[in-house]
Amino acid sequence: MVKPKTEAGGRMDATRDAALIHRMRDRDETALSELYDAYAGFVYSLARGIVRNDGDAEDITQELFFRVWERAGTFDPSRGSPAAWITTMTRRLAIDKTRSRSYQARAREASIDVVPATAAVDGTAAVLSAEANQVLDALNRLDEPYREVIRLSYYEGLSHSGIASRLGTPLGTVKSRLREGVVQLRKLLDIKT
């Protein structure tokens, strides 16, 4: 698998990153600093794509790495790579943010949504990396119903019910389309564990 390039210019390295997380168990701040340098751009960009504004993305970035620091002892390599662990936590933080009352209030006042949700479906992928373009190519090869559910769930962070409401589609259909879309995408990207 081609390793995604992080914002800081470094590449994700499961072995190195797991070692950094392990060192954090011993309260090694330099390990946190190194991991931050490797993932900060990745985390910030991912969060920013969901919350659509810089301030919230900054808060989430800080909170994410703080949680990594605090929960380093709970990291389980058998459940996935450090990058996967970080990605899942980042997404959860960002989506929880969009579901907060304060965020919803600001959304109604149109004070957010200033950042494009994703380059993948907005056609603004000109500066994306080769890895990103490969993923976008795979997404575009999905049938529209699957691609749309993945877009709404992954890039906009909508819940099952939210997607169903947005598309006017039954909840069960949303779940099945998401599940099938993920399976097809994994095959297209040749993702195996």
């Binding site: 698998m1 701040e29 794509g49 459940r79 998401l178």
Partner: protein, 278 residues
């Protein structure tokens, strides 16, 4: 949670779009050790990482890391965490600011008080030093004066000294109440006059002591004034050598003295040893 349900929700779990209840149920199922779900979890997680690369990349501001490391430092180093925590919140900053101001005011007040107290101490010390210096000078002057007086009496005879001559002076009319004594060394080289019940002399007058000589005019042995109590003492420092003094008398004379007695005689006495031919 049922395995089938958990399995079907894994994609949404990784994407982070489950509601809190479903999320907790999936995690509980994973924690139960379902290997099938764990394997799928890894696959979907890796897909999630790949999808994340399609998001427009941006760099977080530098202060994000600074705040993160400071926050970690707070939890990692409790001793310094309080300082950082206080530095992190506006309320804490205010407390620190007010605290600092209060300390500054207190310090300024203390310094002012201390300076004033020290200044007063210095002034008091200077005053005491001046007083002490003045007192010391006065005492030194007194000592010098007493030494001078003592020096004057260094040749005076001491009662009890072997061979001391004693001459009583009796009052003469109209001052019969006056009397005196003269004490001299055996060779009459020095002596002391003591007088009592003498009247105060007019300002232009003084009392003059005379050494009475046999067949010769009296010889002046000194001038003196009397105290308010009518007493006086005169040190006869040096009696001219070779003079045969047979008695003493005191007359009142113009200030500065006369070469020979001209005024009223107040007391007179003869040396009994001389009178006895000894």
């Amino acid at each position: 949670m049922d395995h089938k349900i958990a399995y079907e929700l894994l994609d949404s779990y990784v994407f982070g779009i489950l509601e809190e209840g479903e999320r907790a149920a999936v995690e509980a199922h994973l924690n139960d050790g379902c290997t099938v779900c764990s394997a799928r979890l890894r696959e979907v997680s890796e897909l999630s990482v790949r999808l994340a690369a399609t998001v427009p990349q941006a760099e977080p501001p530098a202060h994000v890391k600074e705040r993160l490391m400071a926050r970690v430092g707070m939890t990692h180093h409790p001793a310094r965490s309080r300082q950082r925590a206080e530095g992190a919140s506006p309320g804490a900053w205010l407390r620190v600011a007010w605290g600092t101001a209060a300390v500054a005011v207190a310090a300024a007040g203390f310094l002012l008080w201390q300076t004033t107290a020290l200044r007063r101490q210095v002034e008091e010390t200077n005053r005491l030093l001046a007083a002490t210096t003045e007192n010391t000078n006065r005492m030194q002057n007194e000592v010098a004066s007493l030494r001078g007086e003592l020096d004057k009496y260094r040749h005076a005879p001491v009662l009890g000294e072997p061979g001391v001559r004693f001459v009583s002076l009796d009052g003469m009319e109209p001052n019969r109440q006056a009397f005196g004594n003269v004490v001299t060394r055996p060779d009459k080289s020095a002596g002391m006059l003591y007088v009592y019940r003498f009247p105060m002399a007019p300002e232009d007058k003084e009392y003059q002591l005379w050494g009475l000589r046999d067949g010769k005019p009296p010889i002046s042995l000194g001038m003196f004034s009397v105290n308010t109590d009518g007493t006086a003492m005169l040190n006869m420092e040096t009696i001219p050598a070779g003079e045969e003094i047979v008695g003493f008398s005191v007359t009142i004379e113009p200030r500065g003295g006369m070469p020979e007695p001209t005024g009223m005689m107040y007391v007179k006495g003869m040396d009994p040893m001389e009178e006895d031919g000894g």
